[in-house]
C-alpha cells in the first residue's frame, strides 16, 4: 500500500550527470527537505523555550552573562525573524519548488498511452474475475458508476479509470505551502499592525504602530467610538465587550458596526479588532467657580495660572480616590493632593485661585488592534488548497479497471495505484453487485 507514489522526487535516472542535474538533484532531494525541516523544527523549539521579544531588562534577570551573549549573538531572542531562520525557510521554498519541478513532468508522462493488457497478464492480477459474455453491458454500466473516465475503448475491451486527478494531490499540498508562504511574505513586506485607544465619543484618524520605535501614522479614515460596554459573568469574568464604532470619511459616517472580540470591523482592507479596554479618570474641578475637566496629564492654563493633573490613585490609604495636582506658586513648582471623599481635602487655594475637586469620573476606553495584511487572500487560498490536497491524497481512491472480451467470456481486472486496500473494497463491491444481479 502506498499513499504517495514511490517517486523519489529526484530527477529520474539522468542520462548524463550534467551540472544542472546535480544542482537540481541536490536542491530537490528529499534528504535536503528532511534536513531543513528538522532544522526548522529544532530551532522552533528554542523559540518556545527562550523568551522572545522581551525587553532587555527581562533577559538580564532571566539569563546569565554567558548565555545572554550566545542569545544575542545568534538572535535567539527573536528566533522566528533571525536571518538564519528566514534563510532556512528560503532554502525550504527552493527545495519545494525544485522538487515539484523535478516531479512535474512525471505527472504527465504516465498519461500518454493506456494499453489493454493480454488475458494472461490480467489473470495474474490480484483483483480479477470472469463473467459471461452477455453480462458485458451490465458490467460496464455498473463499473462506470464508479469509474467514470474511459481511457481506452476498442474491439477487444475497455479501460476505465476513477479519480484521475488523485495524482495531483501531492502537487496541490506542496503548492499550497508555497502559496501560504507567498501570502505571509506579502504580509511581512506590505502589512502593518497598529493600535488605537478611543474613549467614548472620541474620534481619531491616527494609529500607533508598534515596534522598537513606536510611531503614529494616519489610518486613512476617522474612527469614532460612539459607545463602549463591558458585561461580566457573576464570577467577575468578562462576558462580552463591545465597541460601537463609526467609520467617518469626509465628515460622513459611511459604516457603523459593533466590534467585539471575534467580530472585527473591516474597511479598506483594514481590520479593526476589539483587543482590550480600561478605565481612565476624568477630574472635574471648579477653578474660581469655572468648571474645568481634566484627564491624567492634562493641564489647565488661565491667565498665568497653570495646573496639571499629575497622577491618579484609586485609593489613598483608606481615604478613597485622589489626584495629585502640580501648579505654580509664585513661579515655584509645587504639588498637592485632592481627595474626592474628604471634604477638607477637596478644596485648596492654589496660587491665589480657589480650586475645588467636584468629582472623579471613571471613563471607559476601548483598545482596538488594527491590522492591514494584503497577504490574507493568498494565505486563505493556500489553506483551502491544502485541505483539498490532503483530502485528495488521503481519502480519494484512484485506480483502473480493465475489461477484456474473450471468445467465451469477459475478464474484469482492477489495479489501484494508492490506498490499495480501499480500492480492493470497491472492486469487491462491484464484483458482488454483478454476481447478485446474476443470481436474480
Amino acid at each position: 500500500m502506498s499513499v504517495i507514489k514511490n517517486n523519489r522526487g529526484e530527477p529520474l535516472p539522468a542520462k548524463e550527470k550534467s551540472l544542472k542535474n546535480i544542482i537540481l538533484g541536490f536542491f530537490g532531494s528529499v534528504r535536503l527537505a528532511v534536513a531543513v525541516l528538522t532544522f526548522i523544527a529544532l530551532v522552533s523549539i528554542l523559540g518556545t523555550i527562550i523568551k522572545q521579544n522581551a525587553p532587555p531588562d527581562e533577559y538580564l534577570s532571566l539569563y546569565s552573562q554567558t548565555s545572554l551573549k550566545i542569545i544575542s549573538l545568534f538572535g535567539l531572542d527573536d528566533v522566528f525573524h533571525a536571518p538564519w531562520f528566514i534563510g532556512a525557510i528560503v532554502l525550504f521554498v527552493i527545495n519545494l519548488l525544485v522538487c515539484t519541478y523535478n516531479r512535474f513532468f512525471s505527472y504527465f508522462r504516465a498519461e500518454k498511452k493506456v494499453r489493454l493488457p493480454e488475458e494472461k497478464a490480467l489473470m495474474s492480477l490480484h483483483m480479477c474475475f470472469k463473467l459471461n459474455l452477455e453480462r458485458e453491458k451490465d458490467a460496464i454500466a455498473i463499473i462506470k458508476k464508479r469509474f467514470r473516465r474511459i481511457l481506452y475503448q476498442g474491439e477487444d475491451g475497455v479501460v476505465l479509470e476513477r479519480a484521475p486527478y488523485a495524482k495531483y494531490g501531492v502537487l496541490l499540498i506542496h503548492g499550497s505551502i508555497f502559496i501560504i508562504l507567498i501570502g505571509s511574505l506579502i504580509g511581512l513586506l506590505w502589512g502593518y499592525k497598529g493600535f488605537i485607544v478611543l474613549h467614548r465619543g472620541e474620534v481619531k484618524d491616527m494609529m500607533v504602530v508598534r515596534g522598537r520605535a513606536p510611531k503614529e501614522i494616519p489610518l486613512g479614515f476617522a474612527l469614532k467610538c460612539r459607545d463602549f460596554n463591558v458585561s461580566f459573568y457573576p464570577n467577575g469574568a468578562p462576558r462580552d465587550y463591545v465597541s460601537r464604532l463609526e467609520v467617518i470619511e469626509k465628515d460622513r459616517v459611511i459604516l457603523e458596526k459593533d466590534v467585539r472580540v471575534n467580530s472585527p470591523l473591516s474597511h479598506k482592507g483594514m481590520h479593526i479588532y476589539q483587543s482590550s479596554y480600561g478605565a481612565s479618570p476624568t477630574f472635574v474641578f471648579r477653578v474660581d467657580g469655572e468648571p474645568v475637566s481634566l484627564r491624567e496629564q492634562d493641564s489647565h492654563e488661565d491667565d498665568g495660572f497653570i495646573m496639571i493633573a499629575m497622577r491618579f490613585e484609586k485609593a489613598i490609604h483608606d481615604f478613597g480616590p485622589g489626584v495629585q495636582v502640580a501648579f505654580l506658586d509664585n513661579g515655584e513648582p509645587r504639588t498637592t493632593w485632592f481627595l474626592r471623599d474628604i471634604p477638607r481635602m477637596r478644596q485648596r487655594d492654589l496660587g491665589g485661585k480657589k480650586v475645588v475637586l467636584e468629582d472623579i469620573k471613571e471613563d471607559l476606553w476601548t483598545g482596538l488592534e488594527v491590522s492591514y495584511d494584503p497577504g490574507i487572500p493568498f494565505v486563505w487560498t493556500g489553506f483551502g488548497l491544502m485541505m483539498l490536497g490532503l483530502y485528495i491524497n488521503f481519502f480519494v481512491v484512484p485506480g483502473k479497471i480493465f475489461l477484456r472480451r474473450l471468445p467465451d467470456s469477459i475478464i474484469v481486472a482492477g489495479v489501484g495505484s494508492r490506498h490499495i486496500d480501499r480500492f480492493g473494497e470497491i472492486f469487491e463491491k462491484i464484483k458482488g453487485n454483478l454476481y447478485d444481479t446474476d443470481a436474480s
Binding site: V3, T48, V261, N262, F383, M387, Y391, F394
Partner: protein, 273 residues
C-alpha cells in the same frame, strides 16, 4: 453543586477501569468471550461518555453559561479521552487486538482519572471568555483532538513494535506498521485542519493568523514530525524500527503541544489550563 454530568462521567471513569481489568483477565485466562465483552464495554462506555459530554453541555445552559464543553482543561481531557475511544470504535476492524485496546483504554482511563482526581483541574463549568466565543472553537478543538487520538493509536503501534508481545495476541510487526500509517493518515489531515482552523480563528479574534505563540509553534513542530513520517515512509521507503521511532517522537511532541505548553510555557492559549 453536583450536576448530572459529573455522575455520568464518574461512571465512565469506573467503566474504563473495568475495561482495564477485563484486559488483565483476558491475558490471564485467554478466553475469546472476554474480547467480545471488552468490545461491549467499550461501546457502552462510549455511549455513556457521549451522554456525559452532552449532559455537561445541557448543564452549562442550566447555570446560564451555555457553551459546548470544549473550553477548559477539564473539558479538553474529557474530550481527548472520548476521541480515543471513538477512534477505537471507528477503526474496530483494524484495531481489534486486545493489546491495542488495552493501551488505548488505559490512556483514556489516565486522562479521565487525571481530570477527576487532580486538584489542579477545575471541574466546574466556567463561563466562556470573549476570545472563545466563536464557532471556530468547535471545529478547531474537534479536529485537533481527533488528530491527537489518531496519534495515540500510532504511538501504541510504534511502541508495540519494540516488544515481542506475541503471547498477548499482539498483531504482527507488519500489521502494526500498517495500523501506524493508517492512523497517521487520519491524524495528519486532522492536525492540519486543526492548525488551519486555529489560524483562521486567530485572524478573526486576535488580528493575526500566526504569531509564533508556543502552542502554535509546537503544533507546527508536531506537524513537521508527522510530515517527515509520511515522507520517510512513502518517498524514502523507510520501514520498521525507524518509522516506529518517528511515531514515538511525534507522540511526545503531541503530548508537549497539549500539556507541556500549558504547564511550562505561557502564551495565548493559557486558558486551556
Amino acid at each position: 453543586m453536583t450536576l448530572m454530568h459529573h455522575k455520568i462521567l464518574g461512571l465512565v471513569t469506573a467503566l474504563y477501569l473495568a475495561i482495564f481489568f477485563l484486559h488483565i483477565l483476558y491475558f490471564a485466562i485467554k478466553k475469546e468471550v472476554l474480547v467480545r465483552s471488552i468490545w461491549i464495554f467499550l461501546y457502552i462506555t462510549l455511549a455513556l461518555h457521549t451522554g456525559g459530554i452532552i449532559f455537561r453541555w445541557v448543564d452549562s445552559y442550566r447555570v446560564d453559561m451555555g457553551h459546548a464543553p470544549l473550553s477548559n482543561f477539564y473539558e479538553s481531557l474529557i474530550f481527548f479521552s472520548w476521541c480515543i475511544t471513538f477512534m477505537l470504535v471507528l477503526m474496530k476492524k483494524r484495531l481489534s487486538y486486545p493489546v491495542i485496546t488495552l493501551f488505548a483504554s488505559l490512556i483514556s482511563l489516565i486522562l479521565m482519572g487525571y481530570a477527576s482526581i487532580s486538584p489542579g483541574v477545575d471541574k466546574n463549568i466556567q463561563p466562556l471568555i470573549p476570545a472563545l466565543q466563536s464557532n471556530w472553537l468547535h471545529i478547531h478543538v474537534i479536529t485537533c483532538f481527533i488528530s491527537y487520538a489518531a496519534f495515540v493509536v500510532s504511538f501504541i503501534c510504534g511502541l508495540l513494535y519494540f516488544f515481542n508481545m506475541a503471547w498477548t495476541g499482539s498483531p504482527s510487526r507488519s500489521t502494526l506498521e500498517e495500523i501506524n500509517y493508517k492512523s497517521v493518515m487520519v491524524g495528519f489531515p486532522m492536525l492540519t485542519a486543526g492548525i488551519l482552523t486555529g489560524a483562521v480563528w486567530a485572524h478573526y479574534a486576535w488580528g493575526s493568523y500566526w504569531s509564533w505563540d508556543p502552542k502554535e509553534t509546537w503544533s507546527l513542530i508536531t506537524w513537521i514530525i508527522y510530515a517527515l513520517f509520511l515522507h520517510a515512509r512513502f518517498v524514502k521507503g523507510w520501514r520498521g524500527k525507524k518509522i516506529a521511532i518517528i511515531s514515538i517522537i511525534g507522540f511526545f511532541s503531541v503530548i508537549f503541544t497539549y500539556f507541556g505548553v500549558n504547564f511550562i510555557l505561557s502564551g495565548l492559549h493559557s486558558y486551556a489550563t
